[in-house]
Subunit: 500 residues, 2 copies
C-alpha cells in the first residue's frame, strides 16, 4: 500500500488547502471588513497556485497510477479515480492559461460590478470576450463534440450534453408556455392577494430569530453548522461537521429570507449527511450542481411552499409578525407565495417561470460558443428572448443581460443545472411519495422521515456515485423530464385552475 | 536578484499558509459550530505540517543564504535575516519532535479543560510533564545559558533573559509590596464604591452598541477591522488591512467588556499601523510579546482608566445605562475602576497587584526548568506563593494553579512579557508626555495625536527593529523598570493616598 499512502498524505494537503481557500472566501462574503479585500485576494491567489501545484505534481500522478497494483478498498479506488479525472483535466490546462483565467475571473467580476452600476454593457464586454475566448481554448484542451459548449456543460453536470438539454428545454417550453397562458385567465390567480401585500416592516433581529426557528425546525443542527449573513445567500461546507448557510434580510419582505434559508438548508443538509468515510476526501461533496440544486429547490419549493409544511408553523409566523400575517389566512398565504407572474429578474422568479429564465441563458450560451453570435450581440438578443419567453422587455442592461454574476466569473454552462435540479427533485419526489406520506409527515411537523429518505438514497454517497446512478438507484428509472412537467402542471392546476 | 525572487515566491506561500491557519483558528474561536472542532483540527494539523515543510525546505535555505551576493534593499535584507533566524530555529527541531509537540499541545489543552472542570490537577499532570520534558529538549536543541528556561524566554521576548527578569521583578516586589500595605490603610480606598456596585443588568445588544462606539472613538476603522465575540477576548490580524478584535459580554458588568476592547484595540492598532511595505512579509507583525502587551495595556490602563479619557464620553455611558451610572459621579467611577484589591485570578486583577500574579508564575517556571521542582509540586507551591505575594490562598486548584490556559499549550516563558509590557508602556508614556499633552488631548476627545505618536515611533516598524532598538529610539534611553514603578506609585498615591 506504499502508493496509496502517498496518495493519502497528498490528499490531506489538497483537502487542507481547499478548506483554507473556502474558509477565507466564506469570511470575505460574510464578516470580513470591506477594505480587506485587495490584500486577501493575494492570499487566495497564492493558495490557488499551491493547490494547482499539489494537484498537478508528477509524484502524485505517478502514485495515483501505481495504486492499481495495490489491493485497495472500493472507497480508495473511487478516490483514486476521482483524482485521476481531476488531475487529468487540470494538467491539460497550461499553467499560464490557468493563471490567466484566475486573473480574468477577478477582473471580470470587478468589471461586471462597474458595468452594472453604470448600466453600461460596454464596460464589461472586453473582459467578457477574453473570458469566452479562454473558455473556447479550454474546450479545445479538454476535447469536445459538436460545440465547445459541451466541454463547459461537463464541468457542472457530468454526462449531460447539449443534446440532452435541448430535448429537456424543448419539452419544458412546449408545456410551460401554454400553462402560463391558461394561468393568465385564472380568476383565482387574479383574486389572490399579491405577494407584495405580504410586505411590511420586519426588524432584522426578529427575522434572525424566525430564520433560526425555521432552519432548526427543518433539521439544521447548530452544533455542526452556522447561519450567517451575506449580500447574496449561499452555502458552503468545510467538512461534514461544519456547514455554513447564509441569508440576507429584506426589511420589507420576510418571505425573501424564509425561502432563501430553506433553499440553502437543502444544500447544507446534503453536505452534512455525506458519509463520514468520504468527508475530507474528493468524494466528500455533492456529486454535481444539478444534484445539489435538486436538494435546495426541493426544500424551498416542494416542501417550503406547501400548505402541509406551513400548517403547524404558520401560527408562529403570525405570532412573530402580526402585521401583516394576522389578517392573512393560511390558504391566502399559500396562494400568495405561489403566485405566478412573469418578471425580469431570475432570482425573484416564481417556480413556474423560473425555467424560462434558464432557457434564455442556455440559448445564448450555446450560440456564443458555437460562434453564431458574439459578446456584443448579447444585450439585444437577451431582450428579444425575454420578450419571446416572458412577454417583457428590460428597460436597462442591469435588469437584463447584466443581472447575473455567473458570466463575470467565467461560469458558462452552469445555469442549465438550476432547471435540471428542479427536474431531478420532481422525479425524486414522485418516488418518495410512494414510500413516505409526505403531507402527513409535514402536517405532524416531522421533517425527519423526509430528510432520512434523501440522506439514505442521495446524500450519504457524496461523489461516490454519478448523478445518473443515483437517479437510477433512487427512482428505478432513467432521468425523465416528464416528472417535472407533471409536477408543475398538477401543482398550478390545483392551485389556480380548479374552477376551469 | 535570482535568489531574492525565489525567496519572494516562497514568502508568498508561507504568508498564505500562515493567513490560512490564522483565519481558521479565528473562525474556531468566534463563530464555528461547537462540534466542528475535531475535523477542523485535522486541517490545522496538515497546514502546520505544510508550513514546516515550506519553512525548512532546503532550496529556500539555499536561496536565503545566496541572496548575500545580491544587491538587496534594506527591507529585503531584513526579511532574509528574519527568515534565516526562524528557519535555523525550526530546523534544529527534528520533525518527529515538532509533530510530537503539536500533538502535546492539543492533548494538553483538552486535559487542562477536563482537569479544571473536575478540579483535579492529576488529570493534567501527566501531559504537563511530557510538555515540560519536550521543552527541556527544545532548549537543548536551541542551546542556552544557565537554565533551559532562558531558551523559552527568548521565544517571546528576544534579548530578555532570566538575569534581566530577576532584577526587574526584584525591584517591583521591593516597591509594590510596601505600596500595597500603605493602600490597605487608605481611607479613600475604603470609602470608594466597590467595583461590584457598578454591576447591573446590561443587555448584550446594548453592550455591543457601546463597544462599537468606544472602539470607533479611540480610532478603530471598521473598514479595515471587525469586532467579534469569543469565550476569551483576543486579537489577530491577517495583514495590515484586516484586523480582528474580540470581546465577551458579562451581562452583570459592562466594564469587563469596556476594558477588554480597549486592551484588544491596543493590539489591533499596532498591527493596523505597520508599514504597507512590511505587511504579508515576516516583518509585518508586532516585534515581541512584550512590545505588543505594551500597546494593549497602554490603552487599557494608562488611557482607559483615566478621568481625562472618560470626561467627554462618560455621559454616553450614563445615557446608555442610566442604571447604575446615573447616580455615580465621574470621580466615583474613576476611583471604582482603579480600585486595588488582592484577588486570586490574574485576568481579574487590578493594575497594581497584576505584576505580583506574573511574578508568582515566573518563579514557578524558573524552578521547574532548573529542575529544582517537579510538575507534581506546582499546586502546593502555587498556594504558598499566593499567600506570600497576595495574602490569599486558593480553595481549589481551578482558582489556583489551573486558572491559566498557557501551560496547557506549552507556553512557558510567556507570562513575564505581560508585566514587561506594562513597564515598556510606562517608559513610552513618560516620553510621550514630553511631546503630547495627553490629558488635554483626551479631554478634547482627540485620541489621534496619541496614536500617531505610537504609530510613528513603534507601530510602523513591525519586526524591522528589535524591542531594545525601539525603546532606545523612542525614549533616548535603555529600558528601565523605574518608569513603571514611578508610574504605579504616583498613580495610586494620587488616587488613594493624598490625605496621608
Amino acid at each position: 500500500m506504499k502508493y496509496w499512502q502517498i496518495v493519502e498524505t497528498h490528499m490531506k494537503k489538497l483537502d487542507a488547502l481547499h478548506h483554507a481557500q473556502n474558509k477565507i472566501t466564506y469570511d470575505l462574503e460574510t464578516i470580513a471588513p470591506k477594505k480587506s479585500f485587495n490584500q486577501t485576494a493575494l492570499t487566495l491567489e497564492t493558495l490557488a497556485g499551491l493547490y494547482y501545484e499539489y494537484l498537478t505534481d508528477e509524484h502524485f500522478l505517478y502514485a495515483l497510477e501505481n495504486t492499481k497494483a495495490e489491493n485497495l478498498s472500493t472507497g480508495q479506488k473511487q478516490i483514486v479515480e476521482e483524482y485521476l479525472k481531476e488531475v487529468n483535466r487540470i494538467r491539460k490546462i497550461p499553467l499560464a492559461e490557468y493563471k490567466l483565467f484566475a486573473k480574468l475571473q477577478t477582473q471580470g467580476h470587478s468589471a461586471w460590478i462597474s458595468a452594472r452600476e453604470s448600466n453600461d454593457f460596454s464596460l464589461f464586454a472586453p473582459v467578457l470576450e477574453e473570458i469566452v475566448s479562454y473558455l473556447k481554448r479550454y474546450a479545445t484542451y479538454q476535447g469536445y463534440e459538436a460545440n465547445p459548449y459541451n466541454a463547459l456543460l461537463d464541468i457542472y453536470e457530468p454526462e449531460m450534453q447539449m443534446n440532452d438539454y435541448d430535448q429537456f428545454f424543448g419539452a419544458i417550453r412546449e408545456k410551460i408556455v401554454p400553462l402560463l397562458a391558461r394561468l393568465k385567465e385564472s380568476k383565482i390567480l387574479q383574486q389572490t392577494i399579491h405577494a407584495k401585500s405580504l410586505q411590511g416592516t420586519f426588524a432584522k433581529n426578529d427575522q434572525e430569530k424566525l430564520m433560526h426557528f425555521i432552519v432548526n425546525y427543518v433539521g439544521f443542527d447548530f452544533n455542526y453548522g452556522q447561519l450567517g449573513e451575506s449580500a447574496h445567500p449561499f452555502s458552503t461546507s468545510f467538512h461534514n461537521e461544519d456547514i455554513r448557510i447564509t441569508t440576507r434580510y429584506d426589511l420589507q419582505d420576510v418571505t425573501s429570507s424564509i425561502f432563501s434559508v430553506l433553499h440553502e438548508f437543502g444544500h447544507g443538509i446534503y453536505e452534512r449527511n455525506i458519509a463520514a468515510d468520504f468527508t475530507q476526501t474528493p468524494l466528500g461533496t455533492g456529486v454535481s450542481m444539478g444534484m445539489h440544486e435538486s436538494q435546495s429547490r426541493f426544500y424551498e419549493n416542494m416542501i417550503g411552499r406547501t400548505k402541509s409544511f406551513w400548517q403547524p408553523i404558520y401560527p408562529v409566523l403570525q405570532a412573530m409578525f402580526p402585521q401583516p400575517f394576522q389578517d392573512v389566512t393560511l390558504d391566502a398565504f399559500i396562494l400568495s407565495i405561489n403566485q405566478v407572474q412573469p418578471s425580469l429578474i431570475r432570482v425573484e422568479a416564481d417556480e413556474l417561470t423560473y425555467p424560462l429564465h434558464i432557457m434564455l441563458r442556455y440559448d445564448l450560451e450555446k450560440l456564443l460558443f458555437s460562434g453564431d453570435i458574439q459578446v456584443r450581440d448579447l444585450p439585444q438578443l437577451w431582450n428579444e428572448k425575454m420578450e419571446e419567453y416572458l412577454g417583457l422587455t428590460p428597460k436597462t442592461v442591469s435588469e437584463g443581460v447584466l443581472q447575473d454574476v455567473h458570466w463575470s466569473q467565467g461560469s458558462f454552462g452552469y445555469f442549465p443545472t438550476y432547471a435540471l435540479g428542479s427536474a431531478y427533485a420532481a422525479q425524486f419526489y414522485a418516488t418518495m411519495q410512494k414510500k413516505v406520506c409526505v403531507s402527513r409527515e409535514l402536517e405532524a411537523g416531522n421533517l425527519n422521515s423526509i430528510t432520512s429518505f434523501l440522506s439514505e438514497h442521495i446524500h450519504q454517497f457524496g461523489k461516490s456515485k454519478t448523478p445518473k446512478q443515483i437517479i437510477k438507484d433512487v427512482t428505478g428509472a432513467e432521468f425523465s423530464r416528464s416528472y417535472y412537467i407533471k409536477y408543475l402542471t398538477k401543482k398550478y392546476e390545483q392551485l389556480f385552475l380548479w374552477e376551469q
